[in-house]
C-alpha cells in the first residue's frame, strides 16, 4: 500500500508491504531498510535506519499527524492511493472552493452570509474573534455558500469547519 506523506507542499511516497510479518518499505521508490518498534501505545516509537536510532513521538489521526524528532516538529497530512484519488477529484470539483476552516481557535462573532448566497472572492464571510482581535474571514474564491457550520457565539478550535463554498461553474 502506497502512502503519500505531505509536509506543506512537499510530498514523500512511502510504500509498505508486509511479508511474513516483516515490513518491507520503500521511500520515493527506493528500498528503505528500517526496523520499527513502539515504546508504548501512545505514539512513542523508535525507528532504526542505517545504523542510527530515531526516537519519535507521533500524535494525531491517520490523516493528520504531528511527529516530534529530537525537538523538531513535523506536521504531516497523509493519504493512501484511494484517498489521494478521491481528494484530487474533490479538489478538481471545488476549484478552490470547499471548506473554510478556522486557522486558530476563537469565537464566531457574526456570520455575514446566508446559505445559498452568492459570494465574490475576498468577500467577508464571518468574523472570528481570536486573541482578543476580530478577524474577518474572507471567501477563498467566488461561488455559493453551500453550508454554514458555525453560528454566532460558537467557540471553534483550530481546523474546525466554518462554512462550505461551492464554486460556480464558469
Amino acid at each position: 500500500m502506497k502512502t503519500y506523506v505531505h509536509f506543506g507542499d512537499r510530498t514523500r511516497e512511502v510504500e509498505i508491504t508486509e511479508r511474513l510479518g516483516e515490513l518491507v518499505v520503500t521511500l520515493d521508490g527506493e528500498p528503505c531498510e528500517v526496523s520499527y518498534a513502539e515504546a508504548d501505545s501512545h505514539g512513542q516509537v523508535v525507528l532504526n535506519h542505517m545504523g542510527k536510532s530515531y526516537a519519535m513521538s507521533i500524535e494525531g489521526t491517520p490523516h493528520a499527524m504531528a511527529i516530534t524528532l529530537a525537538g523538531h516538529r513535523y506536521d504531516a497530512t497523509l493519504e493512501d492511493e484511494r484517498e489521494r484519488a478521491a481528494n484530487l477529484a474533490a479538489r478538481a470539483k471545488n476549484k478552490g472552493g470547499g471548506v473554510v476552516k478556522a486557522v486558530m481557535p476563537g469565537v464566531v462573532v457574526e456570520v455575514l452570509v446566508e446559505e445559498g448566497q452568492a459570494v465574490e472572492a475576498g468577500q467577508p464571510l464571518l468574523i472570528l474573534e481570536a486573541m482578543k482581535m476580530q478577524n474577518e474571514i474572507g471567501a477563498p474564491g467566488s461561488g455559493t455558500v453551500e453550508r454554514i457550520h458555525a453560528g454566532a457565539g460558537d467557540a471553534v478550535g483550530a481546523g474546525d469547519k466554518l462554512l462550505s463554498l461551492a464554486v460556480a461553474d464558469d
Binding site: 512511502v14 486558530m104 483550530a158
Partner: protein, 507 residues
C-alpha cells in the same frame, strides 16, 4: 516568619512560590478557578480554595474573592506571582488594609512605575538615562512635528497608557508624521480608552537587558546583575539568559547602580526588574516591572539566591543581611519558555489536551512547569505552560545543554514554541552573541527538511499499524469510556477536597 501565605495565582508561578514556601516551612493556600480544579497548584498547596468562575475576571482577578479566601484560611500574607493582580496598586493597598502582608512593592511604587509618563519623569529626575524624547504627552500634530525634529528621527509614537508593545508606531520620515500621529492617537483611544501619546527616539537594533533588584524595608538594596531578553516576538520573550554577553564588567556595574538608583527613587521594597534598551554601548531606561519576572530563574541559577525566599523575607520585615560585594556571577544560565503556540503558523495560540509529556532531566536542568498529563490548554489564560532552565560553566556549555534538554523534551497535544527556540539556539548569530530584539521575528521557523524522509516513513508505518489495530480490536470506544470516567472521578475528588484541603485531602 509567616505561618501561612496565600498565592493569588495559578500555573507554574504558583508552584514556584509553593515550592519555596514549603522549604521555609510556611503553609500555602492556593486559589483556583473552575477550570483549574485539577491543576498542579491546586494539588500541591496545603489548602485550596475554589474561587469559581472560568474567566480571570471571575476568579484570579476578583479582589473580593481572593481577600475573602485569605481571611477564611487565616493566611498572613499574599504573594501575587506575576500577571493578574501583581501590579495592581489598588489590590496591594487593600491587602495591607486587611491587615495582611503584601509580598510585593509599596502601592505607590506600583502606581508610579505603572504609568509610562509618570515613571519617565521620575526617572529623569533621579538621573536615570532615558531614551531621548518628551516626558509629557503631545497634544496636537503641530507640536508633534516640531518636537520630533528636536528629538531626531526615527521617532516612536507610544500610547501613554500602553504596554506590551501595543500602540507603538515608528516614523522614519517627517512627511509621514502627521498621519502616524493621528493613527496612533486613535488607536490609543480604541485600545486603552486614553488617547494620550508621547514621542521618543526610536532605538535601532536594540537589545533588551534588564537588572534584577531587591530592597528590604530598612533602606538596603542590592542588584543581582542582568538578564538578556532580546529573543522576543511582539514583546513576548522566548529565550532569556544571564549574564548578557554584550556587557563588560564596568558597564555591568554601572547598569546595576543605575537600576538601584531607579528603585530608590520610588521607595522600592521587594523584588523588581529595571528594564533597559541597550544600543551601541549606551543604555536607556525602558520601564520597571514591579513584581517577580517570568525569567527570574536564570538569575537564581547564576547567583545561587532563591529570589522568592528573599521576597518573603523582606515582606516579613527581615533585613537583607548581605551587601552588593557578597554577590557574584557563577557560570551562565539560559531559560526557554514553553508556550502553547504554533511557531510554524506565526506563533498563533494552540489549544488541546496534554499527553505524551516527557520532561528532560540530567545535570543542571531545571523545570518550572504547571504541565501535567490531561491538562486542557484553552484560551482563558496565558499560553505559557512552563519554563526550561539550564546552567553551564560558560555560555557555550549552557547553549549545548539547552539544545540537549529540548531534544529530550516532548509536549504532546499542543504545539509549543520549542522548535523555534531550538532554531534560535542552533543559529550562528545567537551562538556568536550577534542579535537584537528583531532577531526572532526575522527567522523563518521550520524543521530541518533532511529528516523529512525518515519522519515520513515513521508516519506511514504508524498509520499502517493504527489501521491494523483498529481492524483487530474494535474496543477503542470501551477504553476511551474508561478513561473519561476516570478523569471525571479525579475532578470530583479535588472538588471534594475543596477548602478543607490539607487534612481532609489526604485519605
Amino acid at each position: 516568619m509567616f505561618r501561612r501565605i496565600l498565592i493569588a495565582n495559578r500555573g507554574e508561578i504558583a508552584l514556584r512560590v509553593i515550592r519555596t514556601a514549603r522549604e521555609m516551612d510556611i503553609e500555602c493556600v492556593a486559589v483556583y478557578s473552575d477550570v483549574d480544579a485539577r491543576a498542579l497548584h491546586t494539588r500541591m498547596a496545603h489548602v485550596a480554595v475554589p474561587l469559581g468562575g472560568e474567566l480571570p475576571s471571575e476568579s484570579y482577578l476578583d479582589m473580593d474573592k481572593v481577600l475573602a479566601a485569605a481571611r477564611e484560611t487565616g493566611a498572613e500574607a499574599i504573594h501575587p506571582g506575576y500577571g493578574f493582580l501583581s501590579e495592581n496598586a489598588t489590590f496591594a493597598r487593600r491587602v495591607e488594609e486587611a491587615g495582611l502582608a503584601w509580598i510585593g512593592p509599596p502601592a505607590d511604587a506600583i502606581t508610579t512605575m505603572g504609568d509610562k509618563i509618570v515613571s519617565r519623569r521620575a526617572m529623569t529626575e533621579a538621573g536615570v538615562p532615558c531614551v531621548p524624547g518628551l516626558v509629557d504627552p503631545v497634544d496636537d500634530v503641530e507640536t508633534a512635528i516640531r518636537e520630533a525634529d528636536a528629538i531626531g528621527y526615527p521617532i516612536a509614537i507610544k500610547a501613554a497608557a500602553g504596554g506590551g508593545g501595543k500602540g507603538i508606531r515608528i516614523v522614519r520620515d517627517p512627511s509621514t508624521m502627521e498621519s502616524a500621529f493621528r493613527a496612533a492617537s486613535g488607536e490609543a483611544v480604541a485600545s486603552f480608552g486614553d488617547g494620550r501619546v508621547y514621542l521618543e527616539r526610536y532605538v535601532d537594533g536594540p537589545r533588551h537587558i534588564e537588572v534584577q533588584v531587591m530592597f528590604d524595608a530598612h533602606g538596603n538594596g542590592v542588584h543581582f546583575f542582568e538578564r538578556e531578553c532580546s529573543i522576543q516576538r511582539r514583546h513576548q520573550k522566548l529565550v532569556e539568559e544571564a549574564p548578557s554577553c554584550i556587557l563588560d564588567e564596568a558597564q555591568r556595574a554601572e547598569m546595576g547602580a543605575v537600576a538601584l538608583q531607579a528603585g530608590k527613587a520610588v521607595g522600592y521594597r521587594g523584588a523588581g526588574t529595571v528594564e533597559f534598551l541597550w544600543s551601541n554601548g549606551s543604555f536607556y531606561f525602558l520601564e520597571m516591572n514591579t513584581r517577580l519576572q517570568v525569567e527570574h530563574p536564570v538569575t537564581e541559577m547564576i547567583t545561587g539566591v532563591d529570589l522568592v525566599r528573599e521576597q518573603i523575607r523582606v515582606a516579613d520585615g527581615e533585613p537583607l543581611g548581605y551587601g552588593q560585594d557578597d554577590l557574584s556571577i557563577d557560570g551562565h544560565s539560559i531559560e526557554v519558555r514553553i508556550n502553547a503556540e504554533n511557531p510554524f503558523e506565526g506563533f498563533l495560540p494552540s489549544t488541546g489536551t496534554l499527553h505524551n509529556l516527557r520532561m528532560p532531566g540530567g545535570p543542571w536542568v531545571r523545570i518550572d512547569s504547571g504541565m501535567y498529563r490531561g491538562l486542557e490548554v484553552g484560551l482563558q489564560y496565558d499560553p505559557m505552560l512552563g519554563k526550561l532552565i539550564v546552567w553551564g560553566r560558560d555560555r557555550a556549555e549552557a547553549i549545548a545543554r539547552m539544545i540537549r534538554a529540548i531534544q529530550e523534551m516532548n509536549v504532546g497535544g499542543v504545539h509549543t514554541g520549542l522548535p523555534a527556540a531550538l532554531q534560535v539556539l542552533q543559529h550562528e548569530r545567537f551562538v556568536n552573541g550577534d542579535f537584537d530584539t528583531h532577531f526572532l521575528e526575522s527567522l523563518d521557523i521550520q524543521s530541518p527538511p533532511e529528516h523529512e524522509g525518515i519522519v515520513a516513513v515513521a508516519a506511514a508505518i504508524h498509520r499502517h499499524r493504527l489501521a491494523r489495530r483498529r481492524a483487530l480490536a474494535p474496543s477503542d470506544a470501551a477504553r476511551d469510556g474508561w478513561l473519561a470516567r476516570n478523569r471525571s472521578g479525579t475532578a470530583r475528588h479535588v472538588e471534594r477536597a475543596g477548602v478543607a484541603g490539607a487534612t481532609e485531602g489526604i485519605r
